[in-house]
Symmetry: C2
Subunit: 115 residues, 2 copies
DNA sequence: TTAATGTGAAACCAAATGGTTTCGTATTTG
DNA sequence: CAAATACGAAACCATTTGGTTTCACATTAA
């Protein structure tokens, strides 16, 4: 099996703004649930559920330390997102190229009008 | 107002696999709804609704031609996604660096064991 | 040992989501 | 003009989602 045996999709995991925020919060530190939930207006349980979705997508890793569960970012699954995006970069570059060509063609038309 | 006056979020728009597929389909061609929906096992109406979500997020542009409505990719909003991703690239690079350092440290330990 | 703390599971709920079928309306085409 | 085509709006439905409160269970502290 490949790298993406995740129960939850990366795309779906990052669809929620709270979860995106969680990823940033946990990007440079490992934190227990209670501390994490202090950053949000929702209940600790709700935060816990978001963390589960992220964990299912492989975006976050949990580690039990005593009675705490500490979470931290696991950025690898974001590669899938990057790959997906890469396909489209081709098109937005084309778009910019097309725009440039259009502007040039437009100038030509302007020149012709001036004849 | 900035560039993202979209009713629908880009992140949410690409969360659905059918919509991601639509974006690829429309990346190199402008197509009317009926033709598009032939590529999917769901109803034309369902496809139409997905297209609306994509249009709300600015990811697709519609153009009426006679009785047809033709859709094509509008890749610009994907920049937001790219920006968001960029933040995390820092961390996965760190991760790789950390891994490299760990491997080196491990070698050192191996060497020590050999003493 | 008893009390306090950190957490997830469960049951529940309202709203959003992804789908359907039916209908009305423009626009071609015969 | 009449029939066919292309489409979106509406009403409806089942499931998922994001949230809550309550409860049970470990683990640590008194």
């Amino acid at each position: 099996m490949g790298a993406s045996s995740a129960k939850h999709d990366v795309f779906q995991a990052i669809a929620d703004p709270t979860r995106r925020s969680l990823l940033k919060l946990l990007s440079n530190q490992e934190l227990p649930v209670t501390v994490i939930s202090e950053h949000y207006p929702i209940s600790r349980t709700a935060v816990s559920k978001h963390l589960r979705v992220l964990a299912d997508a492989g975006l976050v890793k949990e580690r039990k330390v005593g009675r705490e569960t500490r979470y931290k970012l696991e950025p690898e699954p974001l590669f899938e997102l990057k790959d997906w995006l890469q396909y489209f970069e081709l098109f937005w570059e084309n778009k910019l190229t097309a725009l440039r060509l259009f502007v040039e063609a437009d100038s030509d038309i302007e020149n012709q009008k001036k004849k």
